[in-house]
């Protein structure tokens, strides 16, 4: 099969799929092709200027509309529910610290995590239980899902906004960095 035929088959399969497809899913349907990742990148490039884009999210491929056309489309589709501040914050803590336990989320946020918050994030398909930490009490850990990456248009967790800066500043560590200056300031004198 020529590359053109392979590209046609790939685009038809990704287009018809009900959920984003992994490389293995695509290979199962179109058969083994020379370089599937390369073909997918070519296809994505050819769609980039169009109103429909082919995108990779968390290792899975899907078609979606171009972000700049949202105003044409919002009336077509049901609006999504807005997340509460607590839910957004909890989602951010999980995404930037995963895998993370509930006590750790509570420590970072300074308040108890209400049961509903994690439920909402799991029901949205963005957060999943990710095994137990092998420490006393074996607390359950939470992590994000490929659906989270897809929803927020992230290719991978490395694309999380500001991830590298936060890591460099030590703000994703459990303990404050030692070399931080003593924050006494001059207010006490």
């Amino acid at each position: 099969m020529s590359d053109l035929e392979a590209l046609r088959a790939i685009e038809a399969v990704v287009f018809a799929a009900e959920a984003p497809l992994s490389l293995a899913d695509i290979a199962r349907h179109v058969g083994e092709r020379g370089d599937l990742p390369l073909l997918l990148r070519d296809l994505a490039q050819s769609y980039a200027p169009r109103g429909i884009n082919l995108v990779e999210r968390g290792g899975r491929w899907q078609f979606q509309t171009a972000p700049d056309l949202a105003h044409h489309l919002r009336p077509l589709r049901e609006a999504v529910k807005k997340l509460s501040r607590a839910a957004v914050e909890t989602l951010a803590v999980i995404a930037y610290h995963e895998p993370v336990t509930r006590p750790e989320i509570e420590e970072i946020r300074g308040v108890a995590v209400s049961g509903g918050t994690l439920d909402v994030l799991m029901a949205a398909g963005w957060v999943r239980p990710a095994g137990r930490r092998e420490t006393p009490g074996r607390p359950l850990q939470y992590a994000t899902t490929p659906g989270f990456l897809a929803h927020f248009n992230l290719v991978s967790r490395r694309d999380l906004p500001g991830l590298a800066d936060l890591k460099a500043a030590g703000l994703l560590d459990r303990e404050p960095p030692r070399e931080m200056p003593l924050p006494l300031g001059d207010g006490g004198e």
Binding site: S84, A86, V88, F152, P176, P183, L184, G188
Partner: protein
């Protein structure tokens, strides 16, 4: 602490502090707002000034007889302790080190602030269902499975045979079977044993002509039971060297 999951209005950080306890998500949230009002860069905030602001806030709240949640009071007590420890001449023995505690508080504030900003940055990204849209009704991919049946001709013929056998007219005739009755077997074995002084295989006492299979089975069974019966009556002894070894029998004097 009110934690509705949807549609909680985002509030702006006030430039002047307004007493509105219900709107804070706990003491750390309040501290962060106070710190934010103090300095834009949390790395440079004054912890002592922050402690004073927090304590003043709590004092005012008490003056207004507002119900203060326990965790706000716990934080106030802890901050008062931290302040006094920081102001005392450094005690190398102090455990935990107040400077470490101040560092930790600053770190917590910075981390919470970073997570708030990260959440806002996430929400600012193009989102599915708001900025980008997948297909509403994709056809779906399916694997169709075609069964391959591995039925053999033998299966086919055997099942036809089974049907025919099932439907054959089922008249059951009880056949008269040639049998050796137990009484007859006991009589016969006792007579034969009378002449055997040595151990002899039980099989040697079976009749020689056993062409009829069902009669042979009957003779074997009856002769064996007869041997057991004669032994019980003390007229014979039985012996067998090992399981399934030949059964030996002799007359008892």
């Amino acid at each position: 602490m009110n934690e509705d999951d949807f549609d909680t209005p985002a509030r702006a950080a006030p430039s002047t502090l307004v007493l509105q306890l219900g709107s804070w998500e706990g003491p750390l949230d309040l501290l962060l707002t106070l710190a934010r009002a103090q300095k834009v860069d949390l790395a440079e905030i004054s912890i002592l000034a922050l402690v004073d602001q927090y304590l003043a806030f709590i004092r005012d709240a008490k003056a207004l007889s507002l119900e203060l949640a326990a965790d706000y009071l716990v934080m106030a007590a802890w901050l008062a302790y931290l302040k006094s420890a920081l102001l005392l001449p450094a005690d190398p023995e102090a455990e935990p080190d107040p400077a470490d505690m101040a560092l930790r508080l600053q770190f917590q504030l910075q981390r919470l602030d970073a997570m708030r900003e990260a959440g806002a940055a996430l929400l600012a990204r193009p989102q599915i269902g708001w900025d980008v849209f997948p297909r509403a009704a994709p056809e779906g991919l399916v694997f169709e499975t075609r069964p391959i049946y591995d039925t053999s001709l033998y299966d086919l013929l055997a099942s036809y045979g089974a049907i025919k056998a099932r439907s054959a007219v089922g008249v059951h005739v009880v056949r008269r079977r040639p049998v050796m009755a137990l009484d007859e077997a006991i009589e016969r074995l006792e007579a034969l044993l009378g002449r055997a002084i040595d151990w002899t295989e039980l099989a040697r006492f079976l009749p020689g002509d056993l062409a009829d299979e069902s009669y042979a089975r009957s003779v074997l069974a009856s002769t064996f039971v007869a041997a057991l019966e004669l032994t019980r009556l003390g007229k014979a002894s039985l012996s067998q060297g090992a399981p399934f070894a030949p059964i030996l029998v002799k007359a008892r004097p």
